[in-house]
Symmetry: C2
Subunit: 338 residues, 2 copies
């Protein structure tokens, strides 16, 4: 096997978040479903922004948040995603590289601006997202660097990547490179609406290309059109090597062959903003998994990373996750299994 | 007297802040003085940004923070400042208008980009700033709208406005309009280094143009090259109608004619980031003053607004200041004196 230069290489929609406080009335006026991600066009983005309260801008993007989490835990990570060569694109690139993530995708010189996501955080700590994909639609298979993917233990993709038209081909190319190099491929289902939009493609991915699947209960149930979570769990068995399913305050369930591992949620003093919870769970899990830890420890690391990010405003960790995990679990998760 | 459309009209450098966590070693490597504002050029801004950790972007600018505070208290406020017609300029304008502040200064179509300030927050909650003035250098007297200034009870300016070459002429024009309309003029000294750069101009302003002066101990002492704070206090007496001097954890001192009013600081559970403390003190004070409250109540309102902003990351209030002041002082500060 070639050298593992990266523990995780991720492909995703490169997005800058605009975080605002909102109430249920605002969601109603906008006609958006709480907790979900709705795609919007450029004109809607202008109109909606004009009606929003003051915001703060932070780099986001589901898979980008995940690789920042992997890096914060001490792992080596790379990212593939498309920004435009504009101010927000520069912010996105800076925040990723300065977090220690390798990011070399060429920015688009023209076309739509860097993608923005309005993240409306309600007092119940739920986040509702409106995404303008902007330059993300410019990502193509040419942006996938073979050397990066072949050198990563796991190539990870967000389901949202199936929204821009060409990006799915980028992922399929990456999956092929990864498997040829004896690596693993991982997918997050992202959002129940996203699953509805791309169910057939995701079922094919899970059956034929994905080794490690991340989803929450609603996404997994939507994928298999199951009557309930138990039916969805039975359906996912055998479909991929590992399925890690998050259950919010109830922690997570990992299904791998005949094993079903249930891990409780990490204690969180106050849930402030759930943005990034799934992204950071994947970060912790993948860090553990690519460092040879067992599934239960990997799931616990996922819970610790998710617990950190929901304790504050924003989708990326405020604290060093390696120090946090060390304090919670002791040194063992950081010593790769011999 | 004409109708008071605005309680406060402010003129300032229109800046987007990039907030990052820093340690003393980083300040040393950058060669900047803790707690101060250092001006940097475009190339330095690029080089320094590349070496900074991930940040979050929030609209800032000293006087802009002040008018947002006035609006959050329920006052009517307007702002004059120059951004470029770029992404960060749009963010700055959105955040000001959506906070309820009138802002109609035309964005520059070309020239330097919207100004940025790297705000380095150290674990002791001190903030150290590096400012790239960008489009702020394009502010000219033509940007001062006579109708806005003449309709504002107080026209307020940050001392930092004397750094870009033409902006001081904008302020002098505004001061003339304000006084002709029977209004008051207010100045914040901004920063001891800023006072050193513009001492003669500021002494002239204070002696001949300013009715209400805001400063902290270090700035006032620097202005008069005084041996200590008491000497500085004696020097400022009679120079302007009102001088409101902040003293950090010791609260503030207001000097007006023969009156010296000492007000303690508002209790703050944990000081997280002192960025915006002086800006928000001015907001609370000017809100009270323009609503006919006495100097002690105005100073208390300043302390409440400053206390809110230093309790969290960022230079603008997270909470509605009117509700906060109502809870702390009761309804009286909000009923204008008959």
């Amino acid at each position: 096997m070639v050298d593992t230069r990266y523990h995780v290489a991720a492909i995703g929609n490169a997005i800058v978040d605009v975080l605002v406080h909102a109430d249920d009335g605002m969601l109603e006026r906008l006609g958006v479903a709480k907790g979900m991600m709705t795609l919007i066009g450029a004109e809607d983005a202008e109109r909606i922004y004009a009606g929003l309260p003051p915001g703060i801008e932070c780099s986001g993007g589901s898979a980008a948040n995940t690789v920042v989490g992997v890096a914060s835990l001490g792992g080596r990570a790379a990212y593939v995603g498309k920004v435009k060569d504009d101010q927000l694109g520069a912010v996105f690139g800076h925040d990723l590289r300065s977090a220690g993530v390798a990011f070399a995708t060429r920015a688009a010189a023209d076309g739509p601006s860097t993608a923005r996501c309005f993240v409306l955080v309600t007092p119940d700590a739920q986040r509702t997202m409106l995404t303008y994909l902007g330059a993300c639609i410019e990502l193509t298979p040419d942006d996938v660097e073979e050397a990066v993917i072949a050198a990563a233990a796991v190539t990870y993709m967000e389901g949202y990547l199936y929204d821009p038209p060409l990006a799915k081909r980028a992922f399929l190319k990456a999956a092929e490179i990864a498997h040829k190099a004896g690596r693993m491929v991982s997918l997050s289902l992202s959002d129940p609406f996203c699953v509805d939009r791309h169910r057939d493609a995701f079922l094919d991915l899970v059956a034929n290309h994905v080794d490690i699947l991340f989803a929450n209960e609603a996404e997994l149930t939507a994928l298999f059109r199951a009557a309930d979570f138990d039916e969805a769990l039975r359906a996912v068995r055998g479909h991929c090597r590992v399925a890690a399913i998050t259950r919010g305050a109830q922690g997570s369930v990992v299904v791998a062959g005949d094993d079903v591992i249930v891990v409780g949620a990490d204690p969180v003093p106050a849930v402030v903003d759930t943005t990034g919870a799934g992204d950071l769970y994947a970060a912790g899990f993948l860090y553990g998994f690519t460092h040879g830890r067992d599934l239960a420890t990997s799931a616990m690391l996922g819970g610790i990373a998710a617990g950190e990010v929901i304790g504050h405003f924003g989708a990326r960790p405020d604290r060093n996750l390696a120090e946090l995990a060390l304090a919670r679990l002791g040194p063992s998760p950081f010593a790769p299994v011999a």
